[in-house]
């Protein structure tokens, strides 16, 4: 648990970090970024909270099994979309041309379209849920384990 200034600023900064992470996730198919990168940014926001507030007070609200459900949901979205194109082959991009994320961008220099790419942005969302949940769980559990080890000595 750090001082009042750090806690107040981290309360504000976590929102900025989450928006930044969401931006990286959603535009992953047309700008640098994507599922893992955005998920890691969100997990770094959780790391900020753990450092500012201490792992025990975070653990009162954010249990490990909530993160486990988040992880599984993300992974099931990913593999469900992969099975979705099974009419032709596995991982077939069956959403190209359809109204959900299916717009085909024009060639040449252009600012890029968020609503394009077919299955890929949805898979990015699935992967980012998994990565954010997974890395946050790793950070939370290791922070709890290390403070427990220090207390024992």
């Amino acid at each position: 648990m750090m001082s009042k200034i750090v806690r107040t600023m981290s309360n504000f900064l976590i929102l900025v970090v989450l928006v930044y992470g969401l931006y990286i996730i959603m535009h992953g198919h047309s700008t640098p970024g994507g599922g893992f990168q955005g998920g890691a940014v969100v997990a770094s926001g959780v790391a900020l909270l753990i450092v500012a507030f201490g792992s025990h007070s975070i653990h009162e609200n954010l249990k490990e099994h909530h993160l486990s459900i988040l992880k599984s949901t993300g992974l099931l979205i990913f593999i469900g979309l992969a099975f979705g194109g099974m009419a032709r082959t596995f991982f077939y991009n069956f959403l190209v041309g359809s109204p959900i994320f299916g717009h085909i961008p024009p060639l040449g220099p252009n600012p890029g379209e968020m609503l394009s790419g077919g299955v890929i942005p949805l898979m990015d969302i699935g992967v980012s849920l998994n990565v954010a949940g997974g890395l946050s769980a790793i950070l939370l559990v290791m922070a709890l384990a290390i403070t427990a080890t220090e207390v024992e000595e």
């Binding site: 099994h65 992880k71 992969a82 099975f83 099974m86 032709r88 082959t89 596995f90």
Partner: protein, 522 residues
């Protein structure tokens, strides 16, 4: 049915993944549903492997392109090279997939009772399914980077499972050694992939084999790949992690780690035979593989004779049996460009080495599961503390005898059949090899007899009064492997004609592998 066979290469990898992702949600709700899901997923995958193997035996090899508009479209229009992830399945791949499917099913059924009192069972079954998916991925893929990714999946899942029982002090050490060695080996493989991509702009195995020119960088990549795969399959002198990791893991996980090291053995064969083929200095590389095999056989069995921990003893035997497989394939590799030597003893040596892989997976798996049964009932792995258990655990003793006779190569077991093939063919290549192999067999029999007398024979000890036979699911897991051993012992000729010989032919035939990918252009 035809659609199922067409999509089966990817379903074999994807169904364990899907089941692994479902387990945290389903296991939280209902434990029995989770057990049923695990066993049903692995049984369905076993069924898919069998129909795929039958189709490939009759119709030749099969490719599957992920994400294309049809599964056999390896090179899109107006392109000259394959651009997607392609799974290429031939007889050697299905041979290894049969081994993995059998071993995973036996391990999963065995684990239902073995880990019942542990906490965190959801994570155990998730990691077990991920380990199985990683092994299937390594065996069915036609792409080097895909091999690297599935190798890492299998390594991380295997290391986490090795250190599963965190209440003991030595499990974390065994798991740590396993993950460090696996990480270093995988990074060396990535370095070799980088060297290939820098020269040829390709990472597909078939496409690389067609344009391979064996420059100096290719020789460096070959050395990196051989050393990395030797680290992963515990060949001497890179075997130090093997006894530690195999002895502290839960018994069903040790069985799957053995199958994972055979998947890395398969990757080594793919590299030597299909990726490089006849442009290697065959005699040099063949003799290097043979020397590794001889060292593994001899050092493995001599270190095993004086061990007092039963699983550590079996792990050293695992190292020595891997030497037999390296020996058979090394002899085949050394005579690959010499047609009359190849037909007279090279193919027989490779048949023996490949048949030995499936024999070893079956009887080594059975022996590790019996050691786990002993640990489950007595709580110790130390042979000096056990004694007189044959009176109480009759079925475990019988399974142990079957496994020990097979591993020592006593007729009429299946171990005898594969070792006889190896002795006869390697003797014609160089007599010293066959003599070392026979001495190893004798020492193997000696150490297993010693372990049997320590654990099972003798007077009953008072602290084991209430020891009973093991639960039914553990017996079912062991029974799957015993049925396989008995079937292979009674009909070895059938097994060689249907399983081992097509695999040998598929390894030697590099041209069929290349033209499967390039669509007849190569």
């Amino acid at each position: 049915m035809h659609a199922l066979v067409t999509h089966s290469p990817i379903l074999i990898i994807a169904i364990p993944l899907l089941a692994a992702f479902l387990i945290p949600l389903i296991g939280r709700a209902n434990e029995k549903a989770r057990d049923v899901l695990v066993v049903a997923a692995l049984a369905f995958v076993g069924f898919l492997v069998i129909i795929l193997a039958k189709d490939i035996y009759f119709n030749g090899l099969r490719v599957y392109t992920l994400g294309a508009s049809s599964s056999i479209l390896t090179i899109p229009e107006h392109y000259m090279v394959p651009v997607r992830i392609i799974l290429e399945v031939d007889s050697m791949s299905t041979f290894m997939a049969i081994i993995t499917a059998t071993v995973s099913l036996a391990a999963a059924i065995y684990s239902l009772a073995f880990v019942r009192e542990e906490t965190g069972q959801n994570r155990f079954y998730t990691l077990l399914l991920l380990l199985a998916a990683g092994m299937f991925g390594m065996e069915l893929t036609g792409d080097l980077f895909n091999l690297f990714v599935f190798l890492e999946i299998a390594s991380i899942a295997g290391a986490a499972l090795t250190a599963f029982r965190t209440r003991f002090a030595d499990t974390a050490e065994g798991g740590f050694k396993y993950i460090v060695i696996s990480s270093i080996a995988a990074l060396m493989i990535l370095l070799a992939i980088g060297l290939f991509y820098a020269q040829y702009n390709l990472i597909n195995i078939g496409a690389l084999a067609q344009v391979m020119q064996y420059t100096m960088l290719d020789k460096i990549a070959l050395a990196l790949l051989v050393i990395a795969f030797m680290m992963k399959l515990a060949g001497v002198p890179l075997h130090m992690w093997c006894p530690d990791a195999y002895s502290v893991a839960p018994a069903s996980i040790t069985v799957m780690l053995v199958a994972a090291s055979y998947a890395c053995l398969y990757a080594l064969f793919r590299t030597c035979f299909t990726l490089y083929g006849v442009c290697l200095n065959l005699v040099t590389v063949g003799w290097i593989v043979i020397i590794f095999g001889l060292l593994s056989m001899f050092i493995g069995v001599t270190m095993a004779v004086f061990q007092s921990d039963i699983k550590r003893l079996m792990a050293y035997h695992c190292i020595s049996q891997t030497g037999y497989m390296l020996l058979g394939i090394g002899v085949g590799l050394a005579v690959l460009d010499n047609p009359e030597a190849l037909n007279s003893y090279g193919i027989a040596a490779m048949n023996g080495g490949i048949f030995h892989i499936i024999n070893n997976a079956l009887y080594k798996g059975l022996l590790f599961l019996t050691a786990g049964a002993l640990f489950y009932r007595t709580g110790t792995r130390d042979l000096n503390k056990m004694g007189g258990l044959a009176h109480k655990m009759k079925w475990t003793a019988i399974f142990y005898i079957i496994g020990a006779l097979s591993i020592s190569g006593i007729p009429p077991s299946n171990g005898f059949a594969s070792k006889l093939l190896l002795y006869e063919s390697t003797y014609q290549f160089h007599p010293v090899i066959a003599i070392v192999a026979m001495i190893t067999s004798i020492l193997t029999l000696a150490s297993f007899t010693k372990a049997f007398y320590s654990a099972f024979m003798g007077a009953e000890l008072p602290e084991y009064e209430e020891v009973k036979e093991v639960p039914k699911s553990m017996m079912a897991g062991m029974a799957i492997l015993v049925v396989g051993i008995i079937f292979f012992s009674l009909f070895p000729g059938l097994v060689i004609d249907w399983l081992a010989h097509p695999a040998t032919e598929a390894l030697i035939n590099q041209g069929a592998y290349i033209s499967g990918i390039m669509g007849g252009m190569g």
